[in-house]
């Protein structure tokens, strides 16, 4: 449902069906809605059977990369004598994305159930739900749900009386976007700084505590009980487009739009209808100008591209961007694109862990140059420098945060170059330039204290 709005008739509310119902947060309320029947069913199967069902459903990771979940699970070898771990990635910090928050706030038991099934399927006795520290309400609800599930014997040493041990623990993060990157999350859980690890080894070989580990996004895990209950064919049939994109997906919508919120649709839905019908189009008197459809890390689309997009993994790629985490950020005709892009660059500069030179220096310099352009002090050379920096930041670092910073900059320069040029030549008049973006720049200039002249 479009929480905080009512479910739109064209939505397919499966994961979000019970958003807004306070009773669904409790164990009793959840059981009344069919909760934990899928876990019971799962515990009567072998792990391999569950993995096969998830594979057959076509479910792909909802955290950003879209990796097939069943295949990821099949890399784990239950019975190899090692402790296995499941990490649930509830770090949700990608600007534009706020779907996992609503899942945990409204249906915490759905996630406990998804984690328990996932853990069992990969031969893990322990699952950790790593929740970003700012999500205090989610943490409270998740801790309550976990405690209720333990007290009812649903999880613990003898999960649902089957003699199997499944522990689920909530772990609170402490403020760092980079801890959403899978190996950084594991480092953080181990009580370290959240620096991403060099891969290989991949987590399935050596992950949390150096043991075989699978990491999945919140939304990925909560889809699994539905797949077990209704069968993989049911899930697979839920697609309006390609067999490579199956099931329903939550899209978070924010920015300059009439009805921001979460919307659950079947993959393959036309993006144009989504934007103008479900989300209510622009605010009165305004026009949409640009969309970042998959969270701040993906390329910006013009409205022409957006309106031609099918909302699935391939559809977004075909229109020059990516589905990512499903965080749809909309800018209208009153926005100054260079200013918005500069602020995104600052986000990445702030969140860079600093291990790789290209990223540490590149994100800081990109921000500095963009802010200079926004302040009306840029040059045409700056535009070339930005593209050079972006090139140097792409495909060369330990994780993709660096690439993520380059994506909105390169696409912004391609598609809205006239706005940058107008700032440089001083021709911009109708929109506020917002020269004073926001503060915090001291941290950035510390990182960018060498090299290029300012």
């Amino acid at each position: 449902m479009g929480y905080p709005h009512k479910t739109h008739p064209r939505e397919t509310a499966i994961l979000s069906k019970h958003f807004g119902e306070t009773e669904a947060r409790t164990l009793d309320g959840w059981k009344k809605r069919g909760g934990y029947r899928a876990l019971e069913q799962a515990l009567a199967m072998t792990p391999a059977q569950i993995v096969d069902i998830v594979k057959a459903s076509g479910l792909r990771g909802r955290g950003g990369a879209g990796f097939p979940t069943g295949m990821k699970w099949s890399f784990m070898k239950p019975g190899d004598g090692k402790p296995h771990y499941l990490c649930c990635n509830a770090d949700e910090s990608e600007p534009g994305t706020f779907k996992d928050r609503e899942i945990m706030r409204w249906t915490p038991h759905a996630l406990v159930e998804g984690c328990a099934i996932g853990a069992y399927a990969i031969g893990a006795e322990t699952a950790y739900i790593y929740i970003r520290g700012e999500f205090t309400e989610c943490i409270d609800w998740m801790e309550k749900a976990v405690a209720e599930a333990y007290a009812a014997g649903i999880i613990g040493n003898n999960a649902m009386g089957t003699g199997k041990r499944i522990d689920v623990h909530v772990h609170k993060g402490a403020g760092a976007y980079i801890c959403g990157e899978e190996t950084a999350l594991m480092e953080s859980l181990e009580g370290k700084r959240g620096n991403p690890r060099i891969k290989p080894p991949f987590p399935a070989v050596s992950g949390l505590f150096s043991q075989p580990t699978t990491i999945n996004n919140v939304e990925t895990l909560v889809a699994v009980p539905h797949i077990l209950m209704n069968g993989p064919e049911w899930y697979k049939a839920m697609s309006l487009s390609s067999p490579k994109s199956t099931g329903s997906k939550l899209f978070s919508v924010c920015g300059n739009v009439s009805r921001p919120g979460n919307y659950e649709i079947v993959l393959g839905f036309p993006f144009k209808d989504f934007l103008y019908d479900l989300c209510g189009g622009p605010q009165p008197g305004r026009k949409f100008k640009a969309v970042i459809p998959g969270g701040a890390s993906v390329p910006i689309q013009t409205m022409e591209e957006a309106e031609a997009t099918m909302m699935d993994y391939e559809g977004f790629v075909a229109q020059g961007t990516m589905l990512g985490s499903g965080g749809v950020i909309i800018f209208d005709d009153q926005q100054n694109m260079p200013r918005m892009i500069a602020r995104l660059a600052r986000f990445f500069a702030h969140e860079s862990c600093g291990q790789c030179t290209q990223c540490r220096e590149g994100t800081a310099w990109t921000t500095k140059i963009l802010e200079r352009i926004v302040a009306g002090q840029g040059t045409f050379e700056d535009l070339d420098t930005l593209l050079e920096l972006a090139d140097n930041m792409t495909g060369k670092t330990i994780c993709v945060l660096s690439d993520s910073c380059a994506a909105p900059v390169v696409s912004g320069l391609q598609k809205f170059r006239h706005e940058f040029e107008a700032l440089i030549t001083g021709k911009r008049s109708s929109m506020s330039t917002g020269a004073k973006l926001t503060a915090q720049s001291s941290q950035l200039s510390a990182a960018a204290s060498t090299g290029l002249s300012v």
Partner: protein, 166 residues
Amino acid sequence: MSAHGTTPYTQVFTGKRKNDLDAILLRYPNKQAALLPALWIVQEVHGWVSEEGMTEVAAALGLTAAYVKGVVTFYTMYHQHPVGKYFVQICTTSPCLCAGADKVTEAFLKHTGCNELGVTSPDGKYTVIEVECLGACGFATPVQINADTVENVTADKVQQILAGLK
């Protein structure tokens, strides 16, 4: 809240809180993994994480104080100085900026008397900072005040929000 060096440090991990930490330790295969949770407890008790707090955590988990400091400084949510009674975090990342987060920030700075980001107001009541995405972008502008998130904040609501703080 004890300011560094002026009041003696009170131990955190005694009595019930020691038991809480012991229960947390059972969740992990080693003690180090309890570092973030232990630091959270220190911050809950003292309002910030002082050098003494880091030393206590280090001793409890068999780590060095220098190591603990290295971890504390990585994360933005551990306060390394005392902060105001109300710690106000305003998201100003682009999705919120395009919806007016800069005006919200200005209003908070003005009405709290802080005037500057990161500086505690003269009465010790408020510290206002800008933060990156709070994961509530559809409710722009979200403002986190201590543990609570206030959604859909606009500049004209700021005075009323401040008046409602207990």
